[in-house]
């Protein structure tokens, strides 16, 4: 079995995170924004798993498990908010919900 430099794993996590960040910043469709947030959470979990693999410890995978639970709860609430936005404004444009009221 050959070894992988840890920098390569962290670089992969960084590239995926930055792609998700650029998606959040550049897209206007709220469904794509949620997808990009999923990519960012996944990249954070990847960094934890890489660090856990470096020291052959279980803690990295435990943290990945917690990130997974957070992502599941986040996507459920986020998609419910997307449906509410669509029912209210009949659009998926995130800029449509730019005013707070109440």
């Amino acid at each position: 079995m050959t070894a992988i430099p840890m920098e390569h794993g962290l670089a992969l996590a960084g590239v995926l995170f930055v792609l998700g960040l650029a998606g959040v910043l550049a897209r206007r469709n709220i469904v794509f924004i949620l997808m990009s947030i999923e990519i960012m959470l996944n990249a954070a979990g990847l960094a934890f798993v890489v660090a856990g693999a470096r020291w052959a410890a279980a803690d990295g995978q435990v943290m990945f498990f917690f990130i997974l639970a957070t992502a599941a709860a986040e996507v459920a609430v986020g998609l419910a908010l997307v449906l509410q936005l669509y029912h209210r404004f009949h659009t998926v444009d995130a800029d449509a919900a730019s005013k707070m009221r109440g």
Binding site: L12, A26, R28, V31, A80, H87
Partner: protein, 174 residues
Amino acid sequence: MSYIFYISAAVAVVATLLVVTRTHAVHALLYLVVSLLAVAMVFASLGAPLAAALEVIVYAGAIIVLFVFVVMMLNLGRHSVERERGWLAPSAWAGPTILCLILLGELFYVVACGGGAEVIEAAEVGPKEVGQALFGPYVLGVELAGMLLLAGLVGAYHLGRREALGEGEGEAPQ
């Protein structure tokens, strides 16, 4: 093992790039599935089989199913593809992309210059050890994750109801 890591890493980066640039929501979702499966392969090559299995089951399974249902309910047709193309003008995405690339360059610099060559030996951390850690020192975190999921369930149910619409706007409650 390292070939598997590099090939699946390249697949993950290309698929993720396609996710954030597609205009059709279903195409982006399919590329997102490919990206998540590639990351699961990365986990498997790093010796984390439980994380790989959870990635496939929860991310590529459950979360993508939720996205597919929502895209189906939103009924995004051909007109939305053209509108997306209008929203994706270079003037809209150039600025954030350049700033993100600067941040990525800084991250590369820090990782490349930060100390000696750390090497991941392919020592597998199996599900048994992860489970013992999860229900040993981290049991409080597991309970908090359970409460978080319950809160997410209740919140999604509350937000998803049609009656939660404001008075006078939108359709009648079913």
